[in-house]
């Protein structure tokens, strides 16, 4: 609980909007000017705007994590193998998480819309797990991590085109103040 309170304070202290009781972020991208406003692009966006991201110029801010470190990795069709690019992003995430030990993470696994619902849930779970295992290998305590699959239920962008499917096959590392509670 001390972790939780401390992280909540941190998060709320930077908030532009009122802090809600839900400390969870949605994955989001910070606008270019780093003013802390976000574009909702992932599930949990009901909580968007309720927690501060800080400025992307502050290396310890969630905004920096999302924008500069990169909060997501992408996958090829029906694959959960991490590409070299994905590994590089996850190494960066691991570094940031080691330097910001108060943050917990939820890794969201997602699939594109070109599959059946149940299989995509399982595939998203596999993708989230691949990212989690990699972070664990990088020294992140497994107690700080949880995984969730959204299957094809939360696209970043929905369109019947390759460019959307490519974006949607992803694992997003979502920062949270609360430890697995």
């Amino acid at each position: 609980m001390t972790h939780l309170s401390k992280a909540l304070l941190l998060v709320c202290g930077l908030a532009l909007a009122a802090c809600s009781s839900d400390p969870r972020y949605a994955g989001g991208s910070v606008n270019g000017d780093g003013d802390g406003s976000v574009e909702a692009d992932s599930y949990g966006s009901g909580g968007i705007g309720s927690s501060g991201l800080g400025s992307a110029s502050d290396p310890n801010s969630p905004a920096y994590f999302q924008d500069r470190v990169g909060d997501r990795v992408h996958f090829t069709v029906d694959e959960s193998r991490l590409t070299e690019e994905a590994r590089e992003t996850l190494r960066g995430q691991a570094r940031w998480l080691r330097e910001n030990p108060d943050f917990q993470i939820v890794i969201e696994g997602h699939a594109d819309e070109r599959g059946t619902r149940e299989y995509n849930l399982a595939l998203g779970a596999r993708r989230a797990s691949a990212a989690e295992s990699f972070l664990a290998d990088q020294g992140i305590d497994s107690r700080r991590m949880r995984t969730v699959s959204y299957g094809k239920e939360r696209p970043v962008e929905a369109c019947p085109e390759q460019r959307c499917w490519d974006k949607n096959r992803r694992a997003v590392t979502v920062l949270s103040g609360a430890a697995g509670s």
């Binding site: 059946t116 779970a125 969730v148």
Partner: protein, 440 residues
């Protein structure tokens, strides 16, 4: 819901008039559903006769629902009212068959309705116009004012059943997911409606993400997946008390794809842990859990055979999604899908003779059926995204989700012959239909 018993009791009360032997099984009027009907049978359903002032309220509406049900199957076509010659004034008067033959009617449904003090009583008879006699016995249904539609469905089921020799499916409901809001933040609510899209109601709040409801074998409960605690979990909803509970909550796992066993006392589902997804069985009373598959692959979408002895499911253990059958207690799975492409969401038919599935191949998605050993695969549909078949209680019609490119998901139904593809009207975008058993 007490209506069920009253209706069931009333249905058994046949009008013992017109003492002709019932010829339901060997009468000349016959439609073989499995053949795929090319020429629908001409049927007339004149406005029901009102036996009292209150009955006039329902006389036309009941006939319309029956016509809609029967013509909706593609097995019947309506002889329109304007063409009718005969004047029907007395429910028990002899039918002037020549008047109906003159306009090429083969089957005729006559009925009467009375309504007073909040009670509606409906009577009907089915006539074989070709051979000039009644087909089966007349029946009477009784219920409350809100039950007239169900009574029309029960009459439709009787007519369908007497002519096709198959059980009907009109007096049934469909649970589904009602979808609103932008795709990226979609609200998906649990909902239920009559099989024809009427009487839709929500069963869960807004701001939720609910998936894939499944009816219990007696239709009184639903299993579904919901994200209300942030992770996919299976919930059991009692439709009588509207009480619900989460099943088998284990930290660090996700559970989804639930389905009842035929006895209604246990369920199978998928559980993901550490990237592997296996199939488990849960005793709903004791909470005892049994793992049925154990492999570092994906095993999901389990569905019982109606005798409860076997389970069909999908797995990517061969490298791509394929269908497998295993004993209900677990054990070595046997692959049954053999064609090209990926196979998913298998569902055993209530008759036990076929398995419906989703197939994706060369960028298209299909709903199909195959024998339980995988033979005689037949694709019934094709589109950008068809998925998630559910069987009508008689095993002759399949409903599924269709998404056209960039469009909202919709519900469609199709005969197992591949004919009569129809969209089911829903109040909002809809997915994941689950057909209930026939109601009592």
């Amino acid at each position: 819901m007490t209506l069920l018993h009253r209706l069931a009791a009333a249905a058994a009360l046949a009008l013992g008039l017109a003492a002709q032997p019932a010829l339901a099984q060997d009468g000349p009027l016959r439609i073989e559903i499995t053949e795929g009907v090319i020429e629908p049978m001409p049927i007339a359903v004149p406005r029901f006769m009102a036996r009292d002032a209150g009955g006039g309220e329902y006389a036309d509406r009941i006939a319309q629902v029956i016509v809609s049900n029967l013509t909706g199957t593609g097995l019947f076509r309506e002889i329109p009212r304007e063409a009718h010659i005969a004047e029907l004034t007395e429910f028990d008067a002899p039918v002037s068959f020549s008047d109906w033959r003159a306009i090429n009617t083969e089957a005729l449904v006559t009925g009467s309705v009375a309504a007073s003090n909040g009670r509606v009583t409906v009577q009907f008879r089915l006539h074989d116009v070709v051979s000039g006699r009644e087909m089966g016995e007349g029946l009477q249904f009784e219920g409350g004012e809100g039950d007239w539609r169900r009574m029309a469905h029960k009459i439709s089921d009787e007519v369908y059943s007497r002519i096709t020799g198959e059980a009907g499916y009109f007096d049934s409901r469909v649970a589904f997911i009602a979808e609103t809001g932008p795709r990226e933040e979609r609200e998906k609510r649990l909902a239920v409606m009559d099989q024809d899209g009427e009487n839709a109601e929500y069963l869960s709040e807004g701001m939720s993400l609910a998936l894939a409801p499944r009816f219990s074998p007696d239709g009184d409960r639903l299993l579904y997946t919901s994200y209300e605690d942030g992770f996919p979990r299976i919930y059991l909803l009692d439709l009588r008390s509207m009480e619900r509970r989460v099943l088998d909550e284990q930290p660090g796992t996700m559970t989804f794809a639930p389905r009842f066993a035929p006895d209604g006392q246990s369920a199978v589902f998928s559980l993901s842990r550490g990237g592997s997804t296996d199939i488990y069985r849960l005793d709903l009373r004791s909470g005892e859990r049994t793992q049925l598959t154990n492999a570092p692959y994906i095993a999901t979408a389990p569905s019982f055979s109606p005798d409860g002895a076997r389970i069909v499911f999908e797995s990517d253990r061969s490298g791509t999604q394929q269908l497998y059958v295993m004993p209900a207690s677990g054990g070595e799975p046997r692959r049954i899908s053999r064609g090209d492409g990926r196979y998913a969401t298998p569902v055993w038919s209530p008759r036990g003779d076929r398995i419906a599935f989703t197939k994706s191949h060369q960028g298209r998605f299909h709903v199909g059926v195959m024998n339980t050993d995988g033979s005689e695969e037949r694709l019934l549909t094709a589109s950008y995204l068809d998925e998630g078949p559910t069987w009508a209680p008689n095993g002759r019609v399949i409903m599924f989700t269709r998404e056209n490119p960039g469009a909202e998901p919709e519900l469609y139904s199709v005969d197992i012959s591949g004919r009569n593809l129809r969209r089911i009207a829903t109040p909002v975008a809809a997915s994941d239909p689950a057909w209930s058993p026939l109601r009592d």
